[in-house]
Symmetry: C2
Subunit: 211 residues, 2 copies
DNA sequence: TAGATTGTTAATCGATTAACAATC
DNA sequence: TAGATTGTTAATCGATTAACAATC
């Protein structure tokens, strides 16, 4: 009899991923307990917020001790739907796309880069890490065959929308858009904009406001 | 007599950067007017929110027409404190660091990568784009000389905190952390966590909730 | 003028925080 | 037991939305 888990609000989800990163580190360093106090102080939140967030998990803490690190980690993985890894395809084999294809952190966190494609025919067949660059036409077949669910857009802003369209058409269910343009998608497809340039701008803004 | 500009709430700042990206594109394609309706629909917001946000700018729209694209763009640049570009240093000359050093979009948006450094002595002197990789020890001098205000952390999670410490010590005023670990900084230094892995996880989560 | 859109106020909605009894 | 921390409820705070007169 499953607890009927309601939809978790976006801001909460954002913080849950932070708790997960923290729990993973704590697990690695062999810490057995983590408290809401510790999480709050390390991540710049209040204890109330942390405890309120943890309400959304299927997890019980222990009064006086906090949460078992490993149980917290597992519960977060379950709740966030991260149990069974995830196949990814990268569109764009420029600097950024190639760097991501070889980025260790992805596989360490359960994401498998199953292909990298580019519209530039000259790049076709070249090797990136252990992958060979494929043409855009291969996209639908690659997505089907490898059960790819996420597409990463690593092309210049001017071709971002086209990349998105082709990925959606090929059947991916989520997009990570690294181009600093907004892309439009049908409502069934989740999009996260990476916003590196936007982040830099926000930094600039924060800096200039303080001086 | 300047309008006493109050602090702008973070969620608003986040959206202002989106309007800016939109206004830049609209400017490039020669569009003269942009309305709150158009912004809202393109970016998935309500018109009310857009108009409320624009309240924070020193800008007047025109009833029946909207906002002059160019005036909107300029006002956003002013308000976000982006008028005079920004010097940046990258720590970490791995795949990601090197890719960013050559990333066109940065310079196009007013960020100048003035140096790239790495703790691995073997990389010292190698060329990345038009830059030569320097050692970590060069950091303080580079930051002073080039008036660097932002440091990008592109090292493995395990050395992220150290990179942050050295950047702060060298005198940068903001950090963009691309490692998927939280880094702690003194309160005078702004930090934005890039969260690429976290974003991927949020995508996974969104996907798994829909199925 | 008619149509469209701004600027602004007030109402709603949701998220964060405070507080505390219950528990280990 | 005493100290610490959870889980939960209620209060506060802030952000989003709705609505509409004013304006081009």
């Amino acid at each position: 009899m499953k607890k009927d888990r309601k939809v978790i609000p976006q801001p909460v989800i954002g913080r849950l991923t932070k708790y997960l990163a923290y729990a993973e580190q704590a697990t690695e360093s062999g810490r057995e307990w983590v408290s809401s106090k510790e999480l709050a102080e390390s991540l710049g939140l209040t204890r109330s917020t942390v405890r309120q967030d943890i309400t959304h998990l299927d997890l019980s803490g222990m009064s006086g001790h906090g949460y078992e690190t490993e149980a917290l980690r597992k519960s977060l993985i379950r709740t966030l739907g991260l149990r069974k890894g995830c196949e990814v395809v990268i569109v764009g084999a420029g600097n950024l796309g190639r760097a991501l294809a070889r980025h260790k952190e992805f596989s360490r966190k359960g994401f498998r880069i199953s292909a990298i494609v580019d519209s530039n025919a000259k790049l076709e067949g070249k090797k990136v890490g252990s992958l060979f660059i494929k043409g855009m036409d291969a996209l639908p077949r690659l997505v089907q065959k490898n059960k790819v669910s996420i597409g990463i857009i690593a092309v210049p802003p001017s071709s971002a929308q086209e990349a998105a369209d082709r990925l959606v058409q090929a059947g991916v269910r989520g997009l990570l858009n690294l181009a600093c343009t907004h892309v439009a998608t049908p409502s069934g497809v989740a999009v996260v904009e990476s916003r590196t340039v936007a982040n830099m701008r926000e930094l600039c803004c924060a800096i200039s406001m303080r001086s």
